[in-house]
């Protein structure tokens, strides 16, 4: 202590600091001596070694891009593979006058400004003497023309490379997604070393979601080249490791049946195995050929796809949000029973419209003359709106939203693909937040028949229906069943995941609604009884019609006079066999009119194809 309190003694302190300065100086000399020693070893001792390496200089390191993993359907049918295609590539170092060469090449092969732009872009991030593709996918005539004249072009090569190919073309495109040329933005999201030499990357759908599995691991080749840069021999090589293969839950045959069932209509259909969440078919119509995108789609083709009023690029199954219409009635029916708001046999009088107390406005039934006395079973089988206006009025929006949320309405399902949207489950809270308005009783009624603000994606609707089919257990829907790990070909199964479980208060309640849904298809007055002819199994279903635009209070909706794009969307949800559900389906046909006549037959074809072929 006392020492610390001493007065400062500049002489002692400056001696101390000087001593340390000298020490530091010695230290710097020693360390710099080490660096010089190292340089001596490199430049004097090992000079011969490095000089040879540098002279022959000519050890180049080449990245060997891995082969992309394959994609199979659930029965092992190849959905995506890789085919050799010819590419025109240029090694910049070997070309004396690049612009002149590019100009001369035009005589033998066409390339667009887009190709040129890409070429210049990838030139920036290349390693020395790496060949950069100018044109992909050369056809036989072009290869022949070029091959004959190749001797005129130093540094120009034709190389065969494996390129992604979708053998089924447009089929299942919205389930698979596609790969495209890698761009700067993609590169910023991946490890650049792993992607040295890789030219394509998953852009959409499964191909993007499972990019990390499909890509594989880059390989390296050390080659010796001559003074002109031509490869003389391979010195060492660590081969690339192919990407992992994906085995899908999709049944490609079922997928095709479903797509064909749409004929030339637009819409979406999703089929799910309700016992585990496996997606059996995922359809969004119209479809387009993903092979167009692999090698850089031309502006014309792209514009045609993008500007088409039918919007083929839009994945309706995951990103399309539609009012679910009457397909929600079984859920509300069950909600009413569970909340003890109504009884199974309690009857409501349907006179064609419903009036709220103290309100003028008529909430109409789709059947102008009304359905008469309706119990729950009739109301679902015949899709009576008035019954559900009344039920909604008694349940109130809070209980309705809470119940629907438990079946997955309003939240993403978490499917393993890109572009999924939330849908919309309206509530008081939602309305206050988004519109700054209180909730009106009339909106409860509209929501009670699946109209108004309520929106679902086709995938969501299928998944909720699947959850209903197995009495409340909701799985995370998925497209991939197992990942086949390369190089050991180990199959890693992806476990099914339960995302929600609704516990029935009374199992009987579910059965009442279920029986009503069976009546929709098999009952005498069921709205979908048209599809039961020759059906070898029992189906539980529900039709729906979603208004695209609102009809004025005293106007009539007349299909004939309404322009096609304003026509109602047709919906149908179902699961079968009714006693032991193996498939749940949701179908939406855009502007198709009524669910019973358009959407239900498509669902029937899907269920037939799955259940009958299988057994």
């Amino acid at each position: 202590m006392s020492k610390r309190e001493q007065l400062k003694d500049d002489f002692l302190e400056s001696r101390l600091i000087r001593r340390r300065l000298v020490l530091a100086a010695i230290f710097t000399v020693i360390l710099l001596g080490l660096v010089l020693g190292r340089l001596y070893v490199l430049q004097v001792v090992s000079y011969e070694h490095f000089s040879t390496l540098s002279d022959s200089n000519r050890i180049r390191i080449k990245a060997l891009p891995p082969t992309r993993g394959l994609i199979f359907d659930r029965h092992g049918v190849v959905m995506a593979n890789n085919l050799p295609t010819y590419r025109l590539e240029i090694v910049r170092e070997q070309v004396a006058d690049l612009d002149a060469t590019l100009e001369q090449l035009r005589q033998y092969v066409e390339y667009t400004d887009q190709d040129l732009k890409r070429f210049r872009q990838s030139s920036k991030r290349r390693r020395p003497f790496e060949s950069i593709p100018l044109r992909l996918n050369l056809d036989d005539a072009e290869v022949a023309r070029l091959a004959v004249n190749l001797h005129k072009f130093e540094g120009v090569e034709i190389n065969a490379r494996l390129t992604r190919n979708y053998p089924h073309g447009e089929h299942a495109v919205h389930a698979l997604g596609y790969v495209g040329r890698i761009d700067e933005r993609d590169l910023s999201e991946v490890n650049e070393v792993e992607y040295a030499g890789t030219t394509h990357i998953g852009k959409l759908g499964l191909e993007k979601f499972y990019e990390h599995e499909l890509h594989g691991s880059v390989g390296v080749q050390q080659v010796e080249v001559n003074a002109n840069g031509r490869t003389l021999r391979v010195l060492s090589e660590s081969p690339p490791i192919q990407g992992n293969n994906l085995h899908l839950t999709i049944d490609s045959r079922l997928q095709r049946v479903a797509e064909e069932a749409f004929a030339d209509r637009n819409g979406a259909a999703v089929a799910i195995d309700p016992t585990n969440g496996e997606i059996l078919a995922l359809v969004s119509m119209p479809i387009f050929n993903p092979n167009l995108f692999v090698n850089g789609i031309s502006y014309d083709n792209y514009n045609a796809l993008r500007d088409s009023p039918e919007r083929p690029l839009f994945n309706r199954a995951l990103s399309g949000q539609y009012p679910p219409g009457s397909t929600t009635k079984p859920f509300y029916g069950l909600a009413g029973l569970e909340a003890r708001v109504n009884q199974k046999d309690e009857k409501t009088w349907c006179g064609g419209y419903y009036l709220l107390p103290n309100e003028e406005r008529r909430y109409r039934d789709w059947k102008k003359e009304g359905h008469g006395h309706m119990n729950l079973n009739d109301a679902i089988a015949q899709s009576c709106d008035v019954y559900f206006y009344d039920l909604a009025y008694r349940l109130g929006i809070d209980r309705m939203s809470e119940f629907m949320a438990q079946f997955g309405f309003g939240v993403k399902t978490g499917v393993d693909s890109t572009g999924e949207r939330n849908g919309l489950l309206p509530s008081r809270e939602w309305k206050r937040r988004n519109e700054g308005m209180p909730w009106f009783p009339g909106e409860t009624l509209i929501t009670g028949i699946g109209q108004g603000a309520l929106l679902v994606t086709p995938l969501q609707l299928a998944n909720s229906t699947a959850a209903f089919a197995v009495k409340g257990t909701r799985y995370q829907p998925r497209l991939v069943r197992s990942v086949e790990k390369i190089p050991d070909y180990n199959m890693i199964d992806i476990a099914s995941r339960v995302t929600g479980r609704y516990e029935l208060l009374k199992p009987k309640n579910w059965e009442h609604v279920h029986n009503a849904m069976v009546n929709v298809v098999h009952g005498l007055r069921g709205t979908a009884q048209g599809i039961n002819r020759g059906m070898e199994y029992k189906t539980a279903g529900k039709t729906g019609t979603a208004q695209v635009f609102e009809i004025a209070q005293d106007e009539e909706y007349d299909e004939e006079t309404v322009a096609e794009k304003l026509r109602d969307h047709a919906l149908f949800v179902s699961y079968a066999p009714a006693e032991d559900p193996k498939i749940a389906v949701a179908v939406i046909v855009e502007n198709g009119g009524s669910g019973s006549s358009v959407a239900a037959p498509i669902a029937r074809q899907i269920m037939d194809a799955y259940l009958l072929e299988k057994s």
């Binding site: 400062k8 010089l36 430049q43 004097v44 490095f50 020395p128």
Partner: protein, 373 residues
Amino acid sequence: MNQSLDSDSVSITRRILDALRLDPVLLSLLVILALFGSLVLYSATGSDQSAVLRQGTRILVAMMLLVAAANVPVRMLRKVSIWLYLGGVGLLVAVMFYGEVGKGAQRWLDLGFIRFQPSEILKLAVPMIVATYLADRVLPVGFKELVVSSVLVLIPVMLIARQPDLGTAILVGSAGFFVLFLAGVRWRIIISLAVMFSAMAPLLWKFALHEYQRKRILTLLDPESDPLGSGYHIIQSKIAIGSGGVYGKGWLNGTQSQLDFIPERSTDFIFSVFGEEFGFFGSVVLILIYLAIIFRGLYIAAHSNENFGRLLAGALSLTFFVYLFVNTGMVAGMLPVVGVPLPLISYGGTSMVTLMMGFGLIMSIRSAKRFLV
């Protein structure tokens, strides 16, 4: 008689330098180095005159700042150090929230008219604040002083390491700790800290380092393990330097460098271009020039008449040495790849300005004695 003799022997240049408070020895060494650097840069950029001109402009600007710094009186330096430090740390925090992300790290602050790295300020502010703090205490430093100084150093170092910018964090940290070292931290504390640090190394490895940083260290041990990434830099850099031999391939004749085999060859890896073209002989000369600069700085430190000057001038000179050692060590494949430029030669303006201002401070310390005594 005496007067006329003086005015004859003391040349006009010397008078100008004195008036500008510049140290002729240090200044001429720096100028030699800068000229040398421009030659190497011309070769490393593939004979790009405009790049050399841009760099020349930067050197001139940095030299002007050097003159400015040399003319700030020492007592003023001690006064501003706290504000410089607080301002610098404040800007580092700002970078954390508003900084521009470049090459995966968040280092830049965009003030609209200029973009700069606040971490550069700390390269000067940290040794200044620690030197200010310790200058009036009784030396050798006691425990309390040690703790306070360490906290002063570690706050900005952690912030910079987080960005992540390991190279600058090392430079700022060593600048601060050199002050402590010179102020006489007891050997047993230095040794126990060293022991503790090595004991904690595995933990630091696991938790403090980014994945890419771990990889770079592993790559150093076995460059072949990552031939497409940073291993490639090391392999090619070693080939370039080694093939230079004793006298080098000659200016503009480095095949490795000219054929674009060396990545970052005008910035962090410029020494491999130098090694290839000027050989071992050139390397020895270059390192001797650097060593002369360091020694001159240490000499000024040793002859300062007060502790602040001794500590600051010493720490700045030693930091300059760290630049040199880390960069040449990295290029020669002895140290892992961290982003530290070859001082005053690598292309780029940020470190150049800070370094020159640092030498300005050293010169200010030198003249403080001359004009006060």
